[in-house]
Amino acid sequence: MSADRDKLNQYIYFKWFVIGVTAAAVLIELAVGITDPLNVLALFSMLAAFSLTSLTALFLAKRNISPRYLSGIMLSVDLSLTIIAMYLSGGPESTWNNYPVFFIFMAGYIFSLSAAMLTSAFSVGAMALMFMLEYLSVLPHFWVFASRNDYWKAPQYMIDYLIGLAILFFSGAVMSGVLNRIVQTNQVRTENSLRESESARLDLEKSRQALLSIMEDLDRGREDLEKKVKERTLELFEAKSGLEKKVMERTDDLESSRKAVLHMMKDLKEDMLRLQEVDTLKSDFVSTVSHELRTPLTVIKEGVNLVLEQVVGPTNAQQQECLTMVIRNIERLTKLISNVLDISKIEAGKMDLQKQKVDVKALLENLAASFGPVYVKKSLKLEVQVEDSPLAYADSDKIVEVLVNLVNNAYKFTEKGGVVISARKIKNFVEIGVRDTGAGIPPEELPRMFQKFAQVGDLYVRHSGGTGLGLYISRNLVEAMGGIIKVESKLGQGTKFTFTLPMFGEDGKEGMNGKEDTDSR
């Protein structure tokens, strides 16, 4: 709408321009003398007519009549006026003949190419008609203006002229169309960019809204986070307080435990000191008793021996017999004291064993050698049978003590035949045996053999030298070394004592505990 308005205004301005220029040109011509006042008058009338149409259009435009409509009306009126002016000013000779091109151009500019073409056609047609009518003298020929040529009579001239005019008019139409197109394109482009910028503005607005909502979300998120952080901090703080309290409690507990432990340790220390005192007392007792018993015995034994050996003077046979009895009983007493002291040592835990690698074969052979003479005297055989050269891990002196006890017993209870001392390896221990061909032990006595003062009827104790403690001590010694002692016997056939000792292992210590193994057997 406003475009139409603009175009109307442009048309009117253009007309003012043309009117002004033409008026000026005519006045100049008048001044110069090219034209006469009549022409001027006619011309000014035309110009006034054109001005009138413009003013009318302006007046009507204010009354809200469509500008497009007004443009069209004005165009038609102006064109008609022009054609009339052309006719009145000489027809083919008129100088106004070119002027329709402006209106054609305007038609194309304001309306469309088609409108322009139409106007061109109309103009050419009107003029052609006019020329023809004039030529045919149907219409009278007027010439208001100066030129008085007779071109209106020359058909060739008029045709050429018309063709020229047609070309001019249609060019104008085309150009107006082009201009219109350009304007339209610009308009369209402007509209497009307006639309684009509008849509861009809308997009921007949308983005802004989106951004705002995102920021709102972020803010909300931040608030949530802050709230959560506060909550967590509070939780942590509470947990910390709880932990601190627990730690304090634990520390208190630990402290009281520590105190209790210290107290216990003090008690234990006192107990230990007391035990050590008792231990020392025991050791002292054993050695003191030992000393007190043995000292007088030494004097007695030596004293009697000196007399018996006639060192302090001659003695007769009866005296000798008597003193020999004394000597025998001194020896018996000595043995008893030794045994009792051994037992008291064992029971006080003071029996110290020196465990080491023992060559059993060598030990048995040495023992047999020392007993040999006595056995020979009684016409008894004494054999040693050892398999595999076993090595034991034990106290060799204690082994000798046990064997002396067993071999002595065997000697006492065997009248014919002999004694065999054997040794062999069984699993992880060494088994040593002393077998005699004596009278044997009744089965009911066997369980009590290793007890204190075990008696086998009258036989056992009566035979000289027996204290009744030998087997008890032997058992204790064997068990202290990690073995087991046992006895088998058949009345009339003989007795066999066997005891085990741990075997010497490669690591320098005992292999397996002999006791455990025999248990499993």
Partner: protein
């Protein structure tokens, strides 16, 4: 000249009976009844052998032995320790300290003679 043997023991009768023994074997027996007395005697007399009791009040046999072994003029005198207890540790200790042999009471006279003879380098 008869070889001198010093007997150190706090029991008078042990000393007495041993003196009988040693004299019967042809040795000259001298005695001391305590460690201190023994050291006094050793200042003037140098025996060929000492028989030393372990269990004595005051200075024990071990102390005397250590003392003797520390003195240049006494350390070469052979010492036989005599005691009642046959504790292994005591025996080892004695032998380590420098005793030549170890006996328990009551002793076997024959064994004692054989040991004395071997220590003094006499034939049996």
């Amino acid at each position: 000249m008869a070889k001198k043997i010093l007997i150190v023991d706090d029991e008078v009768e042990i000393v007495g009976i041993m003196k009988f023994r040693l004299n019967s074997w042809g040795y000259e027996a001298i005695s001391a009844q305590s460690g201190a007395e023994a050291l006094e005697v050793l200042k003037t007399v140098k025996p060929d052998l000492m028989i030393l009791d372990v269990m004595m009040p005051g200075m024990s046999g071990f102390d005397v032995l250590k003392n003797i072994k520390a003195k240049d003029d006494l350390k070469n005198i052979p010492v036989i320790m005599v005691t009642v207890a046959s504790s292994r540790t005591e025996i080892e200790r004695g032998l380590k300290t420098g005793a030549a042999y170890y006996f328990t009471k009551p002793y076997d006279a024959t064994e004692l003679l054989a040991k004395i003879k071997s220590i003094l380098g006499e034939s049996k």
